[in-house]
C-alpha cells in the first residue's frame, strides 16, 4: 500500500516592485499580474496568519477595507472563494469583474489617503520532507496531529492550485489508496477559507475520527 508522506513547506516572498495607490491601479495590477502573484495574495495569507484570521480571506479585500477604507469593495472581494475546480485565471477574472463593476458605480476612484499602498508580491514554496509516513487512517491521524501547520497548507492549497491536482493530497490518498471516497468527498467539501490552518487540521481530524 502506498504510504502517505507528510511534507512541510516554507515560503520565500518576493517583491515585484509594483504597487497600487488606488482601486483603478489595483485593477490594473491584477489584470497584469503573474499567476503566482494572484495565488500568493489569495492563499499565502494562510501561512502568515496561523492563529489570527484577518477580517477577510484575501489580501485584495483586506487592502480595500483597511488601507483604502472602502469596506464595500472589501466585502465584495471577500466573497470570492475559489473552489478546487477553479484555475488561477478564474480567480483573476472574478477579482477583475468585481472591481470593475464596483468602480463603474462610483464617481471618484477610492484611493489611499492615509493608508499604505498595495504591493504586488509573489512567492516560492520550498517543500521540506518530514519523514513522517502513514499507511492507514489511524497512523494518518497520529501524524497529522503533530506535523507543522505548513504541511496542512502544502497538502491542501498547494496541491489544489499550484501543483494543479484539483484536489487535496489528503482526498486523493483517502480515495485512491484507502478506498474511502466518502471521506475524500467530506474533506473536499470543507469550506477551507473559513478556517485557519489549525482550524483546518482540527476539522480534518474530526472527520477522520468519525470514520475510524
Amino acid at each position: 500500500m502506498k504510504e502517505f508522506e507528510f511534507t512541510d513547506c516554507v515560503e520565500i516572498r518576493e517583491l515585484t516592485g509594483r504597487r497600487a495607490d488606488d482601486e483603478a491601479g489595483l485593477l490594473e495590477l491584477i489584470e497584469e499580474a503573474p499567476d503566482d502573484a494572484i495565488y500568493y495574495h489569495t492563499h499565502s495569507y494562510f501561512l502568515r496568519h496561523f492563529y489570527i484570521s484577518g477580517p477577510y480571506p484575501n489580501d485584495f479585500a483586506n487592502w480595500a477595507a483597511i488601507q483604502v477604507r472602502d469596506k464595500v469593495l472589501g466585502e465584495k472581494l471577500s466573497a470570492i472563494t475559489p473552489s478546487p475546480q477553479n484555475s488561477i485565471d478564474d480567480i483573476r477574472n472574478a477579482l477583475v469583474e468585481v472591481i470593475d463593476k464596483h468602480l463603474s458605480t462610483i464617481k471618484t476612484v477610492p484611493a489611499i489617503a492615509y493608508g499604505q499602498p498595495f504591493h504586488l508580491m509573489i512567492s516560492k514554496i520550498i517543500e521540506v520532507p518530514t519523514h513522517l509516513r502513514a499507511s492507514n487512517l489511524q497512523e494518518f491521524c497520529d501524524q497529522l496531529k503533530i506535523v507543522d501547520a505548513s504541511a496542512v497548507y502544502n497538502h491542501i492549497f498547494e496541491a489544489r492550485f499550484r501543483v494543479k491536482k484539483g484536489r487535496s493530497d489528503f482526498a486523493i490518498w483517502f480515495e485512491e489508496v484507502l478506498g474511502r471516497k466518502d471521506l475524500a468527498d467530506q474533506v473536499e467539501q470543507i469550506d477551507a477559507y473559513m478556517f485557519s490552518l489549525e482550524g483546518l487540521r482540527s476539522k480534518i481530524l474530526s472527520l477522520c475520527d468519525k470514520s475510524l
Binding site: L15, I126, T130, D148
Partner: protein, 402 residues
C-alpha cells in the same frame, strides 16, 4: 561571540519550527555562508548578527561573519549614503564616491570572500560584489528604509546592487525597481536576549524602584529615541487626555539625547510639555539598558509606539512578545505587526491614541486577550527562529538549484 544553541528555542518557537530548522540545515550540509557588514558592535545589524550567526553555526551551517575596515572619511561618506537613501538631501562629491570605492577595493583585496552564499549588509560593503567568484550566490541585504531615496545616490548604488543575485528588504515599501529578485524578510527579536528574556518579579521591582516608577497605578510606556518621528509630544498629549478620566503614569524611556543635538532639543521640549506632573517619568538611558527596558515593558499595562514615521519598529515586537497590548502609529512596519483589534491598535491621531488607552485601561479582559494574541503573532512572525528559517530557506532556494 555568544554561544547560542538552537535547541534552546524548542519550547519558545512555534511547535515544529526547531525540527524544521534541523531538516532545512540537513539539506545544506556541505554549504557555507558568509555575512559581511561594516561594524562588529553597535547598531541593529550587528546586534542581529550576534544572534543569527551563532545559531546558524549551531545548526551545522558553515557560517562566518566578517567586517570591513574603513577610514573616518569612508564612514562619513556612508553616513551620508544612509541619510540620502532615507530621503534626506545630501551633497556627495566625486571625491567622496572615490573614497568609498577605494576602501571597498582595499577590503576586497584582503578579505576571504569565498563561500557558497555571501550576504552583504547595507550600502557600506556593497561594491565588494566585484569579488564574486563563479558559482557562489551573493545577496544584498538592505536594512534601511529606502522607500524614497535620493535619486543620484541610489543610481550610483544600483549599479552594484544590480550585479547581485538577489536583494532582501525589510518591508514591501522599501522595494526598488530592480532586475534582480527582491525578497521580503522581516527583522526579528531574540526571546532569549536580555531585552526580551523572562524576568523575575524581583528583577522588575528592582528596576522600577531604581527609577522611582510608581507601582500603585497603571503604567503607560513608550520606549524610543527622543526623535520627532517618534512623536513623544503626542504621547504626552494623549496621556494628559487620559489622565482626566483614569489615574495612571507615563514612562517615556529613550536614549540618544546625549550625543545627538536634535535629540537633546526634543528631550527638552518633552520635559517642558510634561511640566511638574510627578506621574510623567522621562528617562534618557544609556544604549546598554536592555534589562531596564525589558522591566519597563513587562511592568506596563499599555505600550505605545505612536510614531509618525517608522522603519520596522522592533520595540513593537518586543512589547507584543511580553503579551502587552500595543497602540502604534499607522505607519511603516507597525502596520505589519499590529492587526487592528486583534494584536493591538493602530491610530492616526493623539485623540485616537487617548481613546484606545482609556479603552484598554478600563477593559482588562480585552487587554489580556489582545496581549495574548500579540504574543502568539510575534512567536510566529517576528522571533529570531523565523529569521533563521528564512535564511535557510533562501539558501535552499538558491543553492540547491545549482
Amino acid at each position: 561571540m555568544d554561544h547560542l544553541i538552537w535547541e534552546s528555542y524548542r519550547t519558545i518557537a512555534p511547535a515544529g519550527t526547531v525540527d524544521l530548522g534541523y531538516r532545512l540545515a540537513d539539506m545544506l550540509k556541505d554549504k557555507s555562508l558568509l555575512h559581511v557588514n561594516s561594524t562588529r558592535w553597535g547598531g541593529g545589524v550587528a546586534e542581529m548578527l550576534h544572534r543569527i550567526v551563532p545559531l546558524l553555526q549551531n545548526l551545522g551551517i558553515n557560517t562566518r561573519w566578517d567586517v570591513i575596515e574603513g577610514t573616518p572619511a569612508f564612514y562619513q561618506v556612508t553616513k551620508s549614503f544612509h541619510n540620502a537613501l532615507q530621503g534626506n538631501q545630501q551633497d556627495i562629491s566625486e571625491e567622496m564616491y572615490n573614497a568609498y570605492l577605494k576602501v571597498n577595493r582595499f577590503n576586497g583585496r584582503k578579505m576571504d570572500l569565498n563561500a557558497d552564499m555571501v550576504v552583504i549588509h547595507d550600502p557600506q560593503p556593497a561594491p565588494l560584489i566585484y569579488k564574486r567568484k563563479k558559482g557562489s550566490v551573493w545577496l544584498w541585504r538592505c536594512h534601511i528604509d529606502a522607500s524614497r531615496p535620493q535619486r543620484k545616490v541610489w543610481n550610483f548604488l544600483r549599479d552594484f546592487v544590480s550585479d547581485y543575485d538577489g536583494a532582501i528588504f525589510s518591508l514591501p515599501d522599501f522595494a526598488q525597481k530592480l532586475t534582480i529578485p527582491q525578497h521580503l524578510i522581516y527583522p526579528s527579536i531574540d526571546p532569549l536576549s536580555d531585552k526580551n528574556r523572562d524576568l523575575s518579579e524581583e528583577e522588575i521591582n528592582r528596576v522600577l524602584e531604581k527609577y522611582q516608577i510608581p507601582r500603585n497605578k497603571p503604567i503607560i510606556c513608550q520606549v524610543s529615541r527622543f526623535d520627532r518621528f517618534k512623536d513623544p509630544l503626542g504621547v504626552i498629549q494623549a496621556y494628559q487626555m487620559v489622565k482626566k478620566y483614569n489615574d495612571c503614569c507615563l514612562v517615556l524611556a529613550g536614549g540618544g539625547a546625549a550625543d545627538d543635538p536634535e535629540g537633546a532639543q526634543v528631550l527638552a521640549e518633552v520635559k517642558a510639555a510634561a511640566g511638574n506632573d510627578p506621574d510623567v517619568i522621562i528617562l534618557d538611558l544609556p544604549p546598554d539598558s536592555n534589562v531596564e527596558i525589558n522591566a519597563f515593558q513587562r511592568a506596563s499595562t499599555v505600550i505605545l509606539q505612536k510614531s509618525l514615521k517608522e522603519g520596522f519598529g522592533l520595540t513593537v515586537a518586543e512589547a507584543m512578545w511580553k503579551a502587552k497590548p500595543v497602540i502604534g502609529g499607522f505607519v511603516g512596519g507597525i502596520t505589519v505587526q499590529i492587526v487592528y483589534g486583534q494584536t493591538g491598535y493602530t491610530v492616526n491621531s493623539v485623540e485616537g491614541a487617548a481613546y484606545r488607552i482609556r479603552y484598554l485601561l478600563n477593559n482588562p479582559e480585552a487587554a489580556r486577550r489582545i496581549g495574548e494574541n500579540a504574543r502568539e503573532y510575534t512567536r510566529r512572525n517576528f522571533l529570531v527562529t523565523r529569521h533563521i528559517i528564512d535564511y535557510l530557506s533562501l539558501m535552499v532556494c538558491y543553492l540547491k538549484k545549482r
